[in-house]
Symmetry: C2
Subunit: 630 residues, 2 copies
């Protein structure tokens, strides 16, 4: 088959693709993630590109305007490469702006949080060093019985088992190490499974990965299970994004021939890239990594385990599995020690996945006596209300705006992301970036500050539109709408202008409205008022920081005593990490998931009214936000 080279501008990336490949696929291969919410079906009209040189075979589409056609634009997903090509990618077609430089950050380096020590330290995978008596004529017990006998006193009430493959070289390992060996034991299915026997004392080398597999972002963390420390964290946009921006389009894509395999390979690629990166960056040995724990929503888990997710989007919305069997990491394609294991946080239902169960575990809501609330701001906004007696959960389609996706200058909460913004009366902006790096874009917490400041300083009206009449040099007309320049090229090290546009604000407004109205609908359902809630945990991929006061100011969160709020960061990741550090924590989730009742918001009569009323800053009804003075 013939191969062609496709070069993308302005990214200046080239890839070799075989004849018949479309430009969307070629772009993905080049690491450029185009907008394609239809999953590459030619239906959403978002993946517009300009072919500057070379030949493509492209169908005419009524989704391309006359002006766009005049500029030579085609839909990348419908354009088949027929020669070497040079292609320009307009900024508006890019779903995810990766920007330059390292798009990853170690933000939780150091010891794990106090909150996580609620459970006894007893990692999911333990290493135990034993010195065995050498066999004699009077003691010719088999090698396996000998080592199991030595391990038994250290296993408590747990039965020890092992697999055949782990036994094959046992006799060599024992004899080359003079019967001094380290057993790696994993808690699985109510027993302790010996995963490996290594010569000598290797107990100091016991590593694992915690993963939050989000629809938009994938976050991985390397944990030292001996010292209980986080060695490093990496965040990446989910490589499934080109095949659909939300779970519904991905499920549709998965039902096409080869679709499930493609989506599975994409997220595996994310995982293995993060594993490889962190192992290299932290200078540790890959074979010391024996466990991966993943938390994610139902669809993400089905795709990761290569299970057909199609029933998730067909009434009555039944997942195939909600408690995932433990598996060998190698069976799934996780590139850690081939004898290592993978475990998954269980989900409640199609809409309340393992990421939320993980969050409930992490924040401790299920142990609280007082009424508590967990709000997880991700691609969906999930909410769990309750205490140790009962829990009710729900999900709002918030979209990925607060994850920095789908916005002109949005990015993840990594080094260089603007995460704090203060504005003076002259509309001049003081900003902080994560890691004090050169400003590269704006992350969720930065957008919250920015919206709050723009609202306070009158840059935007309560409907979110940028005022055209301020006379500020920072406000200008962009291609299709107005924008506010947060940082001009050169300011704070910005390589180009960093802006927020009318469309971005509209996106963010819808997200905040979806989350706020879901909270209110859930409280209404159980006839509770927000003032009865004594603890509100805010979770999301905001990095280390979220300004609660500003979140209230823009109407994202209810206007009550700030002291009730606690920002807990990525709680899905935290629950996965806790599961690694304590098998008791992990086992708790298999009870916990059963006690959360799911509430379908779309069946709640007041939800849509609440949502529409929330499409103002902070809200149509200012009486709900008494502390907000405009």
């Amino acid at each position: 088959m013939r191969e062609f080279t496709v070069t993308f501008r302005p990214q200046a990336r080239s890839v070799r693709v075989s004849q018949g490949t479309d430009l969307l696929t070629a772009a993905t291969k080049a690491g450029i993630i185009l907008s394609a919410s239809c999953g590459g079906e030619g239906l959403c009209g978002k993946c517009l590109v300009i072919v500057d040189k070379g030949t493509v075979k492209a169908e005419a589409s009524r989704l391309i305007s006359a002006r766009e056609r005049q500029r030579g634009m085609v839909l990348a997903c419908q354009a088949i490469v027929e020669s070497d090509c040079e292609v320009t990618v307009p900024a508006g077609s890019v779903e995810i702006h990766e920007h330059a430089g390292h798009d990853a950050e170690e933000f939780t380096k150091g010891v794990v949080l106090e909150r996580e020590s609620r459970f006894v330290f007893s990692p999911l995978v333990r290493k135990v060093y034993v010195e065995l008596a050498s066999p004699t004529a009077d003691d010719s017990t088999s090698d396996l019985d000998r080592i199991e006998g030595a391990l038994k006193p250290k296993a408590g009430a747990f039965r020890i088992s092992t697999r055949l493959t782990n036994v094959k070289h046992l006799s060599e390992v024992l004899r080359e190490s003079d019967f001094k060996v380290t057993a790696t034991l994993a808690y699985r299915d109510g027993a302790l499974e010996a995963l490996s026997f290594e010569p000598g004392d290797t107990t100091a080398n016991n590593l694992a990965f915690a993963f939050d597999i989000g629809t938009t972002t994938v976050t991985g963390q390397l944990i030292d299970l001996t010292t209980k420390t986080v060695l490093g964290t990496r965040i990446a946009f989910n490589k499934q994004s080109p095949y659909g921006s939300d779970v519904i389009t991905r499920i549709i894509y998965a039902s096409e021939p080869g679709g499930l395999e493609t989506l599975n390979a994409a997220v595996l690629d994310n995982i293995n890239e993060i594993i490889g990166d962190l192992v290299a960056a932290c200078r540790v040995t890959l074979s010391d990594v024996y466990a991966v724990v993943c938390a994610g929503n139902m669809t993400m888990m089905h795709l990761l385990l290569k299970i057909d997710p199609s029933n998730i989007r067909k009434a009555p919305y039944v997942p195939t599995v909600s408690v995932f069997p433990p598996v060998n990491a190698s069976e799934l394609g996780f590139e850690i020690n081939p004898k290592g294991i993978a475990a998954f946080l269980p989900g409640v239902s199609t809409y309340i996945g393992g990421d939320i169960v993980s969050g409930v575990l992490a924040c401790g809501l299920a142990e609280n006596e007082e009424l508590s609330l967990l709000i997880d701001i991700g691609t969906n906004g999930e909410i769990v209300l309750g205490n140790r007696e009962w829990m009710i959960g729900s999900a709002a389609s918030a979209g990925p705006a607060f994850e920095g996706s789908g916005l002109a200058c949005g990015m993840k909460a990594v080094k260089g992301a603007i995460d704090k913004v203060v504005m003076d009366g002259n509309l001049d902006v003081q900003l902080e970036t994560i890691g004090a790096g050169a400003a590269r874009g704006i992350c969720g917490s930065g957008y919250i500050d920015l919206l709050c400041q723009m609202l306070k300083r009158g840059v935007i009206a309560r409907d979110g539109k940028i005022r055209r009449d301020t006379g500020s040099r920072r406000i200008r007309k962009a291609e299709t709408n107005y924008e506010f320049v947060v940082a001009f090229k050169g300011e704070d090290g910005a390589a180009e202008d960093i802006v927020i546009q009318d469309d971005d604000i509209e996106n963010l407004k819808r997200s905040k409205a979806a989350i706020y109205s879901a909270v209110i609908a859930l409280l209404d359902k159980v006839a509770k008022s927000i003032t009865e809630v004594k603890k509100i945990y805010i979770a999301g991929g905001f990095g280390n920081y979220l300004n609660i006061a500003n979140s209230i100011f823009i109407g994202l969160l209810p206007d009550i005593d700030r002291g009730v709020y606690e920002f807990i960061g990525n709680s899905s990741l935290a629950g996965a990490r806790m599961s690694l550090l304590s098998h008791e924590a992990f086992e708790k989730t298999s009870e916990l998931y059963k006690s959360i009742t799911y509430l379908d918001l779309s069946a709640e009569p007041n939800y849509m009214d609440e949502y529409i009323a929330a499409l103002f800053f902070p809200h149509t009804d200012l009486g709900r936000f008494p502390s907000v003075r405009l």
Copy 2:
């Protein structure tokens, strides 16, 4: 690579082999099992063949006598094929006489024995049919939770688990069967594992195989786990035999490059051939077979699981594993349902393997109050003495004579084997064959009868030599020694003369001496007399029949009240079958194996004296056999 055709006579079998192949390998490929106790190393000088036509490259060997060389004989293991060849195989070079016709028999057809119903019927693999409620908006539990919920009330105290692979198509299976499905559940590692979910009610189709993997013979039995019946039995000589006639030579062979793989493939071939044969003969469906339970000695189990057995023959004789982890049948290469399981009876030590533990389970010795003895007459003669308080076990190198191996007309206890012999004063012989078939050879029980009758009628002296002076037409000189013709060609349907030779008797005498003296040494060790033993179980591959009185007459068994004896057949196979029919029986063995103490006979000062004293019929000391009148 060039290929040549090698034709063997008188078997009239041809095979194609590639250049460089030796004649021993070629013969094995042709299904002709030559004597080669050294494992094909050119050391034992037994695999003599005559090359009639064609060229072989053969080293001179001092193991070939001048007369043999004159006849054109070469060692098959040292003769490399260099052209098409025609080869004559002298009868004396054949280890195992397969004879013509079907060399397999269904001898235990019908319901299982009463003895085996000591344990509650609760098969190792169960099928459970459930009709599930279809999901609704109010009940959108995941598919796996739904089926596990329905199975739970039927699982008792057992936790239900399943593997990822079994979940992949669950949603389709449930929906195509309108949520009426059969779960196949296996007891493993203290839990119930769901192996498969099948549409509809398939509980009537639940099959399994029990195997006794002996050094010399492999016996398999197809069991219907629903009706508790044996559907059929097959016996075959172990295909590892050409690589060594005993466990020591096989362990040596296994340590050569590729040796372990070759031996493993050979026994797998045995197993899969028996599985295929019985499934076809019983007209059942292979995919209904979900379990295989195997019992065998330590070396056989290591080779079957492809675990290096080398430490078994190095002091202090430590096996790698004695309690074998449960495995997936497909992982081992067992050709049953790919989701099926394999389980193995645990062994005590290098010398008391899972076959004996299986036998102890089968006969019930470990539950007896009175002192009992199990004597298993196989390639080794293993003995267990004790009761429910204590057990001591030992092994004697008896050799495979009573299994019909290494004898001029020996065969397994299958259709056509002479298993009963009566002789009159004229030395005329009345005989019975298994299945009343045409006489094809002599099996173990036939040899015991024959020796007894020959001794009684004076055909042999007490040293076992055939008398040259009787004048009987049945006694004649054979090539190297004398022989007695049990059946002339035509008598009892014999296709050729069936004989017993001096060498055969010598072989049998050594076997019986090894077993008898081991029994005495074991009793001496614990200061018990044979008269204190209230129950003696005799096990071995003798088919349905063993004449205890005759066994005593030749000195194989101690001369006490016949009522103490019970012949229980292949008890290794019976224990495997019991383990299939009751998981409680199987689990009992993991306790049982620990309570048997091994006694090393070679370290017992009186054993060798006892052995030498037993090298007469019935014994040097006739006072030990008061009932024997000669």
